[in-house]
């Protein structure tokens, strides 16, 4: 890549030149071309520059998945600011935490979002993009009023916030170059995204996964992006898929399950060539059932806020249910034990990853220099994987795993087995000490219409499918389980319920 570049220009300019009339953004009732997208981005950039916001300043974007989100994100990058996407429906306190932590000086949001009432000492400019006043302001600036900022390969470009499944959200900055398709081997080599693709990321852009799918894999490769501003529901997903006819669909496992149960026939007739599941391990049973019914490959892709990109995935033509697939070059992975030594094939180990887009540091530990980790640095993700030859399977989060009578217990494995029981809608497993050792305890949500099930039935079910030490010693029943806003189980809260 060029030594100096601008991420917005690098992502979009070639598609603008190739065919500016091509649809960049698609919604139920809107269609925006690459030319129009670029013009709006430049207007937002000019607006920010006129306000005297400085290069490197953080710009918080608390907007739904909408054209305005993309204008604000790529407009900020055009003039060298650091966009920070965050969930627009979070409570005011959580948004203020991110405002303070990031030190953002400007905020893009909508009047309906709790962010509209958020304040912080450093926040100077608040733009409500859904108001007539903002529309007049944006129309009044010239799209050609500012020049693109130059970025070096290690200049910070954007920042993600982790979802907080283990506590407070953490800022994870990335270099701007991490957005560019030449670093996106998942989209280029695994999914083989082409400009004819129509990409629908049900996972929102405030997640790294959603941002990657939309900005890098979608716009960066000249494809068309489908935007769904609302929270996904059976109704709006059915409508969006049948209207916009995506070729690639990205979502967490729970959404795939919802689609399988409520929109199987639409998926079959939609023209989707592959579905990508991420955010949580894709259960084997769901993967198998999804492909059997729809004949669409569903790929489990693994990445994190720290890598931004997916670096382990199944391949569309070679999906092995229950596994995460293989590493995606140029990323490298290794599995190590407590002494940091490689584990033998077939044994679980801590996953470490090395690659071109690793985060340089957590925002709270930031240094004056934006230089990244040393080349070839390894990052331990906090996950335990099992490798057989080159095939990798997720075992669990290392924080969640525990030893019972000297044997490793993976809550995820137990949950996957329990979820195949016809009466169980959702479940989570955590550890409790009984008689001096940790034992698995299951927290269960029953399906609608089932009010009771005997613990003994569940015990027999688990006992015949799991090693003895993984059989839960207690089953607790709940209406719902504590989850993060992104749908991940908050295991640390299970002990409180």
């Amino acid at each position: 890549m060029h030594k100096r570049f601008n991420p917005t220009v690098s992502l979009l300019h070639k598609h603008l030149i190739a065919d500016g009339k091509k649809t960049a953004l698609l919604g139920i009732d809107q269609r925006i071309s690459y030319a129009s997208l670029y013009e709006h981005i430049l207007r937002y950039a000019s607006l920010l520059q006129l306000k005297g916001i400085n290069k490197g300043d953080r710009i918080l974007i608390a907007l739904p998945d909408s054209p305005e989100f993309i204008y604000a994100f790529l407009g900020s990058l055009y003039i060298g600011m650091i966009p920070v996407p965050c969930n627009d429906s979070m409570e005011k306190d959580a948004i203020e935490f991110i405002l303070r932590d990031s030190g953002a000086t400007a905020l893009f949001t909508a009047m309906a979002s709790p962010a509209a009432k958020a304040t912080s000492a450093k926040l100077k400019h608040c733009y409500h993009t859904d108001t007539p006043e903002f529309g007049i302001l944006a129309a009044s600036v010239s799209p050609g009023a500012c020049l693109p900022a130059e970025f070096a390969p290690d200049t910070l470009g954007f920042m993600l916030y982790t979802s907080g499944s283990t506590g407070l959200p953490k800022g994870v900055p990335h270099a701007a170059k991490d957005l560019l398709p030449e670093f996106n081997s998942f989209a280029v080599d695994v999914l083989k995204v082409v400009p004819e693709d129509i990409i629908f990321s049900v996972s929102k852009m405030y997640f790294g996964f959603g941002l990657l799918n939309t900005i890098s894999s979608g716009l960066g490769l000249g494809a068309t992006i489908v935007l769904l501003p609302e929270k996904p529901s059976v109704t709006n997903l059915r409508h969006t898929i049948s209207t916009c006819r995506p070729t690639l669909l990205f979502a967490v496992p729970a959404i795939h399950e919802m689609l399988l149960e409520n929109a199987g026939e639409i998926l079959i007739s939609s023209g989707i060539r592959a579905c990508v599941s991420s955010g949580e391990c894709l259960p084997k049973a769901l993967c198998t059932a999804f492909m059997a019914k729809t004949k669409i490959p569903i790929i489990d892709a693994f990445g994190s806020a720290e890598t931004f990109h997916s670096f382990i995935a199944n391949r569309p033509h070679d999906v092995v249910p229950g596994t995460s697939g293989h590493v995606i070059p140029p990323w490298k992975v290794r599995l190590v034990n407590d002494e940091n030594r490689p584990v033998p094939d077939g044994q679980p180990g801590y996953l470490e990853v090395s690659g071109p887009c690793l985060f340089p540091f957590y925002w709270k530990d930031r240094k004056d220099s934006a230089a990244g980790l040393p080349s070839g640095a390894w990052y331990r993700t906090g996950d335990v994987f099992l490798g057989r030859n080159t095939e990798l399977s997720f075992v669990g989060r290392s924080d969640d795993m525990f030893k019972s009578d000297g044997n490793w217990v993976s809550p995820v494995r137990i949950e996957q087995v329990l979820k195949t029981h016809p009466a169980i809608k959702d479940c989570a497993v955590c550890a409790r000490v009984f008689m001096g050792t940790h034992r698995p305890v299951a927290h269960i949500v029953l399906r609608e219409g089932i009010s009771e099930i005997l613990e003994q039935d569940l015990h027999v079910f688990a006992r015949t499918r799991l090693p003895a030490h993984m059989g839960p010693v207690q089953y607790n029943f709940h209406e719902e389980l504590p989850k993060t806003i992104s749908g991940k189980i908050q295991r640390f809260r299970l002990k409180e319920i």
Partner: protein, 74 residues
Amino acid sequence: MAVTTKDIMRIFKELGVEGPLDPDVALLDQGVDSIDLPRAAAAIEKKYKIDLSDAKCEQLKTITLFAKFVSSKL
């Protein structure tokens, strides 16, 4: 209120452990396995609304000891 050996035996029966169980012989020597013991403790916790997380193996070794330990918690 005291918990009797009969109460403990009923719990084991509900958990699918086949009897008869001798109240004074080590449970592990009567076909009760190392998972059934914490399951029984967990079931008793629920039934009597007590916390048995500090129970040690020797305190639950036999039905009689089990009943005595649970009674001490009530």
